[in-house]
């Protein structure tokens, strides 16, 4: 008996299309990424600075004189989030650089776009993956740290004057995560290889930072600050948390503008690259 005689039934019970059509894309991509143990280890490593900061808050609450060397004011959160930028870069390089590149390489893009999905659904579904990864090492530990601060040092963090910390954490974490995620997806869409996309992402995030350091310190070029995506993100953080950062030598508005233009550029790349048909004229 041919094997195909084993059950195939017509399907009649079609309901309306779900509104969050992008969700299966996000869920499956996250499942694939989080099934790798090494990646889970990296994700957990992203919480080491959180543990260190909790210890800092604890020590200061136990030994108030330690406040002179380990201040636990609002700047602690800004510095913490700026530190986490490095982890977001590592996470997207290892977990999200192949999101679109692999689909372009294996032709899976057709498996998506020949379904009742729009290109926007596809991009949102994929974008949520690096966004989730980045938020898990910025927003989640940031808010957890704030909650820890409130519980360990209610006399300090319970003050009305420091109520801005919570919203500032949310805004900065979202800004970091959105910019890094959009950049990751755009770079991924420009290549058919996850490895090449990962290297390009590393070059953009780390290479440009090195160029900035050389130009800024070696040649005293202040505008070079705008070249580095990391420094631009830090500049936004310094403005939000009132941190003094000697690497940030220009007004934060310029950095915000650069990041906004970069994000628009990424959206343009995604719009032109995520297609079922490659049109060469």
């Amino acid at each position: 008996m041919p094997i195909y005689d084993q059950g195939y039934r017509r399907y009649e019970a079609r309901g309306p299309l779900r509104k969050a059509r992008f969700w299966p894309i996000t869920r499956e991509a996250l499942r694939l990424v989080l099934s790798k143990r090494a990646f889970l280890g990296l994700l957990l490593a992203g919480f080491i600075p959180f543990v260190v900061r909790v210890a800092q808050i604890y020590i200061v609450t136990q030994y108030p004189q330690a406040d002179r060397v380990l201040p636990i004011d609002g700047r602690l959160f800004g510095e913490f989030l700026n530190q986490q930028i490095g982890f977001t870069i590592l996470l997207v390089i290892f977990g999200a650089s192949g999101l679109v590149a692999n689909d372009l390489r294996t032709g899976a893009i057709l498996a998506y776009l020949s379904r009742p999905l729009t290109r926007r659904d596809y991009v949102i579904g994929k974008l949520l993956v690096p966004l989730f990864l980045c938020l898990s090492v910025t927003l989640a530990p940031g808010l957890l740290l704030y909650a820890t601060g409130l519980s360990l040092a209610p006399d300090f963090y319970g003050k009305w004057e420091l109520a801005w910390i919570g919203p500032a954490i949310v805004v900065h974490a979202c800004a970091i995560s959105l910019v890094v995620s959009l950049l990751t997806l755009a770079i991924s869409a420009l290549s058919r290889s996850a490895r090449v996309a990962g290297l390009a992402l590393f070059g953009l995030m780390v290479g440009l930072e090195m160029v900035r350091v050389i130009l800024q310190h070696g040649f005293r070029q202040k505008p070079a600050m705008l070249l580095s995506i990391q420094t631009n993100l830090r500049a936004v953080g310094t403005a939000l948390f009132g941190i003094a950062d000697r690497e940030v030598v220009m007004a934060w508005g310029w950095s915000a503008l650069v990041l906004a233009l970069l994000s628009l550029g990424c959206l343009y790349v995604l719009r032109s690259r995520v297609r079922a048909v490659e049109i060469v004229t």
């Binding site: 399907y11 309901g15 059509r21 294996t106 498996a111 060469v280």
Partner: protein, 311 residues
């Protein structure tokens, strides 16, 4: 007759171009329920027609209607009723066949539980039941073709679009794939468009055929009609120098096709086998064998492309 039924897809004066390259130039036709073959040489516009149907490309002129809807304006509603098996590879790295097909079902709008259940059924149906938990990247070409078919079938589409489904398959795999496709069309009652340049595949599976050439429809209709008695076909063997016979018959408009065992002659209307005998006698050549033959889809295809005689 398929034309007695309402078409699933119809297109009128459809023109699609890629920049300056005109891929479809004002084509008019329809896909009716049942299996239909879409034939044509490379660059004829077959895939462009399918991609316009999927809403990937917008026509420059003319209109296309699928299930009463315009694929450009309502692509989601149209795609929901289509199952597409692309020509090239399409799999998600790291996924097993069952996860991939279930995922495809979910993307097509099936609830998750139903998608998983149907994925297993469909994978059994295409003959991958035992291998369904294996990573797709470890699959052979034939298995990947079957997975592509399964992902196109999982949501039970009304119209299945198969773009070169036997590509890269060995003879046995090709035969099994064609049996499977034939079964989908006949026993499961699903309409399908089989896009192929392999005439034998189309002839085995399809009832209707559309032949595209240089962005235009060269022939369309049922295979039976197209290969019927429009012309008289004879398989003939001559004894002696048949070159003169060949020249004279070609002058009369006869298609002359060399075969392994004699020649195949396609006589235009108005001529009969007596003409062959007469010309042979005039040339001093003996006719040793003359048997009526049937025109094949290949003959129809070649004629549609303007290749009257292939030596």
């Amino acid at each position: 007759m398929a034309e007695d039924r309402a078409p699933l897809v119809s297109f009128e004066d459809l023109a699609v171009s890629y920049g300056l390259v005109q891929a479809l130039a004002g084509v008019r036709g329809a896909f009716y329920p049942g299996p239909t073959g879409l034939l044509g040489p490379n660059g004829a516009g077959k895939t462009t027609l399918l991609k316009t149907l999927l809403g990937f490309l917008s026509p420059d002129a003319g209109r296309m209607t699928a299930f009463g809807k315009d694929p450009t304006k309502e692509p989601l509603e149209v795609r929901r009723k289509l199952g597409y098996m692309p020509e090239q590879d399409c799999h998600i790295p790291g996924m097993s066949a069952s996860a991939f097909v279930a995922f495809a079902g979910e993307l097509s709008g099936l609830p998750r539980d139903e998608a998983i259940s149907r994925a297993h059924e469909v994978l059994y149906y295409v003959g991958l039941g035992e291998a369904r938990y294996r990573n797709l990247e470890t699959y052979s070409t034939g298995m990947k073709q079957r997975v592509k078919l399964a992902q196109a079938l999982v949501h039970d589409p009304e119209l299945l679009l198969l773009d070169e489904p036997t590509n890269g398959l060995d003879p046995q795999g090709r035969d099994e794939m064609l049996v499977l496709i034939r079964d989908i069309a006949t026993r499961r009652g699903m309409s399908l468009i089989l896009c192929s340049h392999l005439l034998h595949d189309v002839e085995r599976v399809c009832e209707q055929v559309i032949v595209l050439n240089q962005g235009q429809i060269a022939r369309q209709g049922s295979i039976r009609e197209l290969t019927g008695a429009r012309r008289q076909v004879f398989d003939v063997r001559f004894k002696g120098d048949s070159e003169a016979v060949r020249t004279d018959l070609k002058d009369l408009g006869v298609d002359w096709r060399e075969g392994d065992d004699g020649v195949r002659l396609l006589l235009p209307e108005g001529l009969g086998p007596d003409t062959v005998f007469r010309v042979a006698k005039e040339c001093g050549v003996q006719v040793r064998h003359l048997r009526p033959g049937a025109e094949t889809l290949e003959d129809v295809f070649l004629r549609a492309l303007g290749h009257e005689v292939q030596d």
